[in-house]
Amino acid sequence: MCRLLAVTSKEPQSPMLAMQALDVMREGHDGSGVGLFLSDLAGPFQELNGAPILSGIFTNAGMKRLDEFMMEVGFLTKYKLSIKVGKSPPKGTPRRDMYLIQAYEYPQTWEELSENEVHHRLMLIRLQLRQMGNEKEDMIVFSFWPDVIMIKEIGDPLTVAEYLHLDRDELRARVMLVQGRQNTNYEINLYACHPFFIQGVATMTNGENTAFVPIREFLMSRGFPGYIGYQSDSEVFTHILHFMLTRLGLGIEAYKHVITPLTNEDLERHPNGPFLKHLKHSCRRLIIDGPNCVMGCLPDKTLFMVQDRKKLRPGVVGGKLGLYAICSEMCGLDAVIPDRDRTKDFQPMYLDTAFIRPARKELSICRQTEELPLPH
């Protein structure tokens, strides 16, 4: 079972903080890979005024193709952080030419576009790059989005982080999601590594998704180009959330009502019973069956955690004013925020959605049986 950690901090933090916490939870993952999502960035990436940042791994040939492609679309480089590494990577980590984090100026022709259209085009460019990379195996693209950096690699999290010098100043961020991978496949595909990302929504998950195939079929048949991939059964959690936020216009409080709806008896007593019954019926194909603990970050930088209906995976959330963390294990939380009030730690159960709003003032708990804040 993988180990997960999500941190939100008023003060920018180094990814090493998260990596050290993953290292504390080492007994729970096999060091077969690490995934990192950074947002609410500090340093040079904070000054970019919404410019999209491309994250990925490239060969030298891939870099050339990338530059040509981006030029053609009209993107100009605004800021570039290329991580070049030594010739001898740690054991298990493949030798790569370049880890790229590159911010771009939007093409002039995009200036008149609506926000939705820009978001759509950014996603299409990421998908196109991914497709190009698949063809020649010269690029792996994780994200192309404003204020988001993603790095994924095979190997032990802390060792990889040191190898990539993730302690550098440019990479500090206020929101971090990180996963230490427990491999259940023989061959590791970086597109199967958490966290998964689509248009500002990132999630990572513990456990197997037993309802994966029907959910994947539903998402792939929505006619939305971003709902592809699914090298991992956990990618659907990200896409379900994205579908709910963008297509249904519902907030995070409704997420559990989509993936783990209440029983009919509970719905009859619920203040939003009729609405939720409709939601349950029409989103029946998105019901997950666990065992899963899902953690993630919303486009507004809210962090959240939910459990499946049976609550078969561990997860704890705790913190103090300005610094909160969500973690698979208590020891990971201790590593990140040792000086918090432990009595206020919370382990969400099967009805709870735990979330921390971007103000980072408090941990909010929304129980599924409570009234739902619905859009008017």
């Binding site: 197997e208 309802a211 079929e217 249904l248 009919n264 409709h278 194909r285 019901i287 069956d289």
Partner: protein
């Protein structure tokens, strides 16, 4: 046969018949129960002549032979009276001295069962044992990566939806604007399929209805039953129990005068309306209730004269195209109940099912599609229709589901599968396999007759006389002397037994797959089959 006797082409010996009656003279008490109970008069009192050697004691008289007479059972060889193998004689025999045996080779009767140019008609099922459903295994067992669930202790929600389910965006938009939304029923995924009042006896009907009512009201299981094409008793129409009933309308419209007139007095809406365009047992053929069974009660409920055969036309006479059928008929049935009752068509399994389905997807009112595969049973049909016509359900349902996936409408139009579910007794395994292939639920007919009422029929042509009203168990008879044999309360008890045990078995299947919060519709990664061609055809795993 005497040496100078005549034989005709259809003169058969006992050996030529499919069933041969073994009778033990030593144990027979000549009580006559067997001959009285035989539904087809296959046996009669036999008077046999026997030569015996008699030897007296002493030497005065030489041993001699004498002719004596003894009485027993004689099996008739006239094709019209051939034994059907029901074994009611064995059931009633106080000394266990009589039993029919299946002949050891293909019988000759089959070549003569068309006397007068009338091909064989019968009730029952396709006489082909086995099928693909029993070969499907559940292979995705939750092991260390995710814990298997406890079928006995976990919370399970194994319900399905009957009704047009709108896409999430559309559903929420309509809800916001208080627009009309198609009615959707949350029901148990195992439905008692269409068996008409008329095809089955009053006691059987009563038993089924009582069982269903008990399951709903006492056990909280939303089990539904379809009426079949024969109308519905007036009292049931006006009772609260009608909400557990799916009213079927078929091409004969039998009983619908009564139903339409009852609408203003109905306390509850029926669960749904099923428009029957076809059935698995006699695809492309209409319903058939033979005159034997059309007594006064049946005639009254159906609104027809008594004592005449009631063949419904193969198609709805007022419809001449699928557009007509789908658009007009579905909508007019919706109108009858103020758009509060889901209306869906039921068709025979056919290679044209996809065309039907594609039409339904474009009609916002179509509430579901029920498909009855080749193994569906019936009260009466031509033997050739039953044995040779129709499409197997597994690939038909899979094609339809995958087609819906392509359109992004999977489960928006729920698919219900029928025809041979539980044929070999493996009800839950067959049902779960069909659900994982893409069915939202399954319908059963023969299984419930066998399990809840003791139907004697089998796929090796046993009994199968449902059509002529002589059902020895009283299940498909309209003769009070026969149907009084069936106690409706006991039938109800067995219906409850069947559903409870099915529920446990279904949990025993889905729990190890790690599923409990929703019915695993289309969970095709969980199933596999030891047949490469079938695996490819069904797009599931090939396992050896």
């Amino acid at each position: 046969m005497s040496p100078n006797g005549r034989i005709t082409p259809s003169t058969l010996s006992i050996k030529d018949l499919p069933w041969q009656i073994y009778w033990d003279r030593q144990r027979c008490t000549l009580c006559g129960r067997c001959t009285a109970v035989c539904p087809v008069n296959a046996i009669e009192l036999g008077v046999y002549r026997q030569r015996l050697v008699e030897t007296s004691i002493g030497l005065n008289e030489a041993p001699s032979s004498v002719h004596k007479v003894y009485y027993g059972i004689r099996q008739k060889t006239d094709p019209a009276y051939a034994c059907v193998g029901c074994a009611m004689c064995s059931l009633v025999c106080p000394n266990d001295c009589i039993i029919p045996y299946r002949t050891d080779e293909a019988d000759k009767l089959r070549f003569h069962i068309n006397q007068g140019g009338q091909p064989r008609r019968r009730g029952g099922r396709r006489n082909v044992p086995g099928g693909i459903l029993d070969q499907i295994k559940f292979i995705r067992i939750s092991m260390l990566t995710d814990p298997a669930l406890d079928a006995g202790r976990h919370e399970f929600e194994l319900r399905t939806l009957l009704g047009r389910v709108l896409p999430p965006e559309e559903s929420l938009r309509l809800l916001k604007h208080s627009g009309w939304m198609p009615p959707v029923r949350e029901i148990y995924p195992l439905i008692i399929g269409a068996m008409s009042f008329g095809a089955i006896s009053p006691t059987m009907w009563e038993g089924l209805q009582m069982g269903v009512a008990y399951l709903n009201e006492e056990l909280g299981m939303p089990v539904r039953i379809s009426t079949g094409e024969g109308g519905c008793p007036p009292r049931l129409l006006r009772s609260r129990f009608i909400k557990y009933v799916i009213l079927q309308i078929a091409s004969g419209y039998f009983g619908w005068d009564e139903i339409i007139h009852a609408i203003p007095e109905m306390k509850e809406d029926p669960c749904a309306v099923e428009i029957k365009y076809g059935q698995g047992a006699k695809p492309g053929d209409g319903g058939l209730l033979m005159w034997h069974k059309v007594n006064k009660l049946i005639a009254a409920i159906r609104g027809v004269p008594a004592g005449v055969s009631l063949p419904s036309p193969p198609t709805h006479q007022t419809k001449y195209s699928i557009e007509e059928s789908v658009a007009k008929m579905i909508q007019s049935m919706y109108m009858a109940w103020g758009f509060r009752v889901p209306v869906y068509p039921k068709i025979s399994g056919t290679s044209t099912a996809l065309a039907v389905l594609n039409n339904l997807t474009r009609n916002p009112y179509a509430a579901a599609l029920a498909i009855d595969g080749e193994d569906g049973g019936t009260g009466a049909a031509y033997n050739v229709s039953m044995n040779h016509m129709g499409h197997p359900i597994a690939s038909n349902i899979r094609d339809c589901y995958l087609n819906l996936v392509k359109l992004g409408k999977q489960n928006e139009i729920p698919l219900f599968a029928a025809g041979g579910v539980g044929k070999q007794g493996n009800l839950a395994a067959n049902a779960a396999a069909l659900i994982m292939l893409g069915a939202s639920g399954v319908q059963i007919g023969k299984y419930i007759m066998q399990a809840a009422a003791g139907c004697l029929g089998s796929e090796s042509d046993r009994c199968n006389i449902c059509n002529i009203g002589l059902c020895p168990k009283g299940i498909t008879s309209q003769d009070p002397r026969l149907y009084r044999r069936l106690d409706p309360k006991k039938v109800a008890e067995r219906v409850v037994d069947v559903f409870l045990s099915f529920d446990t078995e279904l949990k025993k299947i889905v729990a190890p797959l790690g599923r409990s919060t929703s019915l695993p519709i289309g969970m095709s990664d969980a199933i596999g089959i030891n047949d490469k061609a079938a695996a490819e055809r069904l797009e599931i795993k090939y396992v050896v």
